[in-house]
């Protein structure tokens, strides 16, 4: 699959599931970003779409600001869905965290944005990656081990205790912060050089996507198409059935 196809189909799938256009656009970007780097973006998105998520999608997150932390939660205590809140998490972090040098912090500006549980946390990664500051970093824990991302001198790093940690359905104790200390973090899974190499491979030869996964994604996407009627066929596109000289 080309990256463009992946972005377009992912966006349509999100829209087909009933999410707003703006969220669909962002998820198209996110899934493309992940697939370009050979991370399981399509699988993660499918999981987020399949989950009976419309009730959770209607949840409006509550923002608590106290003790140097911005905390996002849902009113009922359910996990927040990354599909809906990931772009906003990165944006809030960019706007409200204290980006000054730590030594001048007086505790009034928050140093981290935290979420107790976030579903499909891999979807958060592209938004952290693209946002302005190179010092925005993130980590969370999963049943299969921790995941962390930050920027070393060479570029973006994603580190996970195991590959299945990256694909976890839920992340706990999610922290977005200003360059959290990574000294005790998990061993490297992908360094910046590997991410760059993966990106080049994807551009050159496209991305391999599991056929069953692609079919499911395409099925969600098809829900944005209006079924055909003889009437729509004749009226809607403006031309008759044959356009010949």
């Amino acid at each position: 699959m080309s990256l463009n196809e992946i972005a377009a189909t992912a966006a349509k799938a999100v829209r087909g599931r009933g999410h707003p256009e703006g969220i669909a656009e962002e998820m198209g970007f996110a899934v493309r970003w992940l697939c370009e780097r050979e991370l399981p973006g399509v699988a993660m998105l499918l999981s987020a779409l399949d989950k009976r998520s419309m009730a959770e999608a209607a949840v409006i997150p509550v923002i608590d600001r106290a003790d140097g932390v911005i905390r996002l939660r849902s009113t009922g205590g359910d996990p927040l869905p990354a599909l809906r809140v990931a772009p906003s998490m990165a944006e809030l972090a960019a706007v409200e965290l204290d980006w000054t040098d730590g030594t001048s912090a007086d505790g009034s500006s928050p140093r981290s944005l935290e979420v107790d549980s976030l579903t499909h946390p891999l979807l958060l990664v592209p938004f952290v990656a693209r946002h302005g500051s190179s010092r925005l970093a993130a980590r969370w824990s999963t049943p299969d081990g921790p995941v962390a991302m930050d920027r070393s001198g060479d570029g973006l790093r994603i580190r996970a205790g195991s590959a299945s940690a990256l694909g976890a359905g839920v992340g706990h104790d999610v922290i977005l912060g200003v360059a959290p200390d990574g000294r005790n973090g998990p061993p490297d899974v992908m360094t910046s050089a590997e991410l760059e190499a993966a990106s080049q491979r994807s551009l050159t030869s496209g991305c391999a996507v599991d056929t069953a996964d692609w079919d499911r994604l395409a099925r969600w996407a098809r829900r944005t198409y209006v079924p055909v009627s003889e009437e729509s066929r004749l009226r809607g596109a403006g031309a008759g059935l044959t356009d010949n000289d």
């Binding site: 699959m1 080309s2 990256l3 463009n4 196809e5 999410h19 707003p20 256009e21 703006g22 969220i23 656009e25 962002e26 970007f29 409006i60 997150p61 923002i63 996002l72 809906r84 809140v85 772009p87 906003s88 944006e91 809030l92 960019a94 706007v95 409200e96 693209r130 551009l203 050159t204 030869s205 496209g206 098809r222 829900r223 944005t224 198409y225 209006v226 079924p227 055909v228 009627s229 009437e231 729509s232 066929r233 009226r235 809607g236 596109a237 403006g238 031309a239 059935l241 044959t242 356009d243 010949n244 000289d245």
Partner: protein
Amino acid sequence: MRLERMGSRFQTRLSFMRSVLRRLGGDGWTIERTRCDWDDDGYGTAVYAARGPERTYSLIAYSAHLDPADRSDRVIAERWDAAFTLFDGEPADDDIARLAANVPRQEAGRCSSRELTLSRANRSVRLFDHVVESLAAGRQPDRELVNRIGYLMRTTAVYGNGKFGLSDRDRVCHRTELAEPYQAELLTVYLIRCFTHDLVEHVARRRSPDTFVPLERPIRRHLGIGNATGLGMAPFLHNHPILLNNWVVALESALAVCRSIDRVDAGDVARFAELVAAARRSVAQWNVDDERQMTRIVELRADLARLERAVAGADGVSGLLDSETVRPWDRLYRWAEEHLSIEGQEMVVALIIELHAEVVDHLAPSMVAVEPPLVDPTMTVADLLDLVEVRYRWALDLDFDEPATSHYFWYTSEEKLEPRLGERRGEPGADLEHPLAVARDVGRLCATLAMADPQITMAEFLLRRPEHRHTVRRVQTAALHPYSEIRDNLIGRDLMAIDMLRFKLSVFGATKFDPKSDKWTRITMYQGAPLPDELGVSDSDRWMLLPHLDGA
């Protein structure tokens, strides 16, 4: 920018087909047919290699018999007279075989990242057969018919950028020859034109080798490639606001630069007068069935006559342009605004820009766009409301309680994924409408903003109200890119979707707009353009600005 003006635009030297031709000529590209196995009827496979200083691109053309009952230009067609792909490099036998199994199936097949574009074309049956018969019989085709139709074949889609497995544009956009938009697609069309010229001569020659004559050069040149463009192209302008902005900025900048030129010399005046005369000859040969457009063309002809008189001067009154006038193009443009129809004004713009390659051509590379813009999360609710008031006053003034204001909805049909316009109150599907209803969505955004805390940031607002993310992004984009939004209601009853099509087509370089309804149009591409052995002639790309055929 409003649709009325967008829908009156013409090709200019900044159009993409023009920059393709300038590059092919300026950098010494050659075009060679490297393979051909056509039978007597012209069915088979051909390969055309376009060789540049650093790289080669090959058009692979598969032509086959098509039953007339199957011939359709609609995107829902399943078979065509010819199918094409532009291969990155020179294809080997196994590439040709692999693509033979896919390219003729078009959307139903798959390409690889070694292919850049995918396209198909149908014969203009009337003209193709007439040309074959004429050449076979030893005479040239009828010039009037050649001009009336203008092409031997017409494309009905040219896909690129990753569709159906094609190469992502990002893989190749750093190459000079592909950096500007649509260069691969328009190179493809140029090569298809070469293919059609060769094909028609081949069929004629096989029919009657002893009496066959080839096409005369002027006629060959006047045969471009037709195209039927429908609504599929329209949402593009909405979905690529920064690109739209950059196209308009380049054109407006070109005009502004020319208007600021202090003086012109007698040579410039003479060249301009030649262009006006050429425009008159060309527009005299532009005839269409559509009443609305034909009325505009008739008025344009009168405009050009008026323009010619005004430039030349008469009855002791000197012309608008002379070596004494300060900022003569500005004076001319103001005169046009006052005296000519909108199409007349746009023609004047195209002619002025045409003369000043030295200050205009360098704007071409700016007609690209970087990634889609991010939301600015720092903006407050209050600031966004101010922005909407300033930039979208035109939208806020619309009354969406009136049925006519939301008459249409844009959607994609399940059938071949064809974009269509539905009538909200007549057809099902409005719940799946595409977000082209910008004016309406801006109104809804304002209503929500008005009830929010004015000091909260977009970061917080959008966390709570993700349904407005799309519209917030658009409004913020419009602040930085003034031409990014079409300032018209795209779902109103008096929408002329064809204005959107014509704008994009004019930026491509199309000519001879031939509307068939308010939702689709025929056009011609590369009509009058240099033939491959003429590419190196200086300014030869200008020949296609005002296509004309003597005796037609």
